[in-house]
Symmetry: C2
Subunit: 142 residues, 2 copies
Amino acid sequence: MLPIGTLAKRTGTKVQTIRYYEQIGLLPEPGRTEGGQRRYGDKDLDRLAFIRHSRQLGFSLEAIRELLELSDSPERSCAQVDAVAHRQLREVEARIDRLEALRSELRRMISECSADRVADCRILEVLRDHEECLADHHATGA
Amino acid sequence: MLPIGTLAKRTGTKVQTIRYYEQIGLLPEPGRTEGGQRRYGDKDLDRLAFIRHSRQLGFSLEAIRELLELSDSPERSCAQVDAVAHRQLREVEARIDRLEALRSELRRMISECSADRVADCRILEVLRDHEECLADHHATGA
DNA sequence: ATACAAGCTACAGTGGGTAGAGGTTCAAGA
DNA sequence: TCTTGAACCTCTACCCACTGTAGCTTGTAT
């Protein structure tokens, strides 16, 4: 039975994060010692590893919750798993598109500025006047 | 003199966001009517437009604060403005790189799964076992 | 005079954690 | 067995950039 610090090291997770996952119901409440310290088994290790790997691939905790539930019913069709993964892929692709648009805007802006003084700086001018605002008014994921 | 709702519409900002910008000192405290309602002038409109354009390009509020300060001293060299813009460009490029890595991982994962049942699902398997974890343990910007 | 849209303040919540205060427990060495 | 000290515990607040709500007040048009 592993204490929380060991679980943390093995999975590359912070101790607080593990407790946070427990708090939001992503990890089950583990057993405790008489003194009240958490003790984990291999199943917990696997589950946490699953969560961390999924996070590394950009899945939200809600999506991970869904994947974990699905993986608990091994006889079901995996179409739903596929759907979650595709959704994630689409989200990543959308973020890339958005960031690539930003990148070219920034590059253009920077390349146009050859001024010395702030008063003539093209960068600031673009930021002030920026006519062709980017399509939407959403956040940029900054 | 414009009330806050008009300013909001003209700049594509929510009313609460304008009050938030004021609260954190990004917008100056405007004049008020006798009854206590905010009234804005053209300078405020310009400043808010600058902020929104910069946000659309992904600049953080801290970076915007810096840009606004710089643009208040028109005789200074614009090298610092350039530096802020370049820093932003590098951040965007880094995020793109990261997301492109995620995208290919996701694509590979999805393409490998041709199972019917959750029990044989390659996607879940990859999430469980994912050996070659991506380089770092940072957040993904999700 | 009245109706009602639009304004006001203050506080809570989002996602995904992270940091710290202040106290307790576990395990190893003497 | 005692003592040390690292690791654990709970609870709370903080990060970013907003967004939403409750409950009230003000401005404006008719």
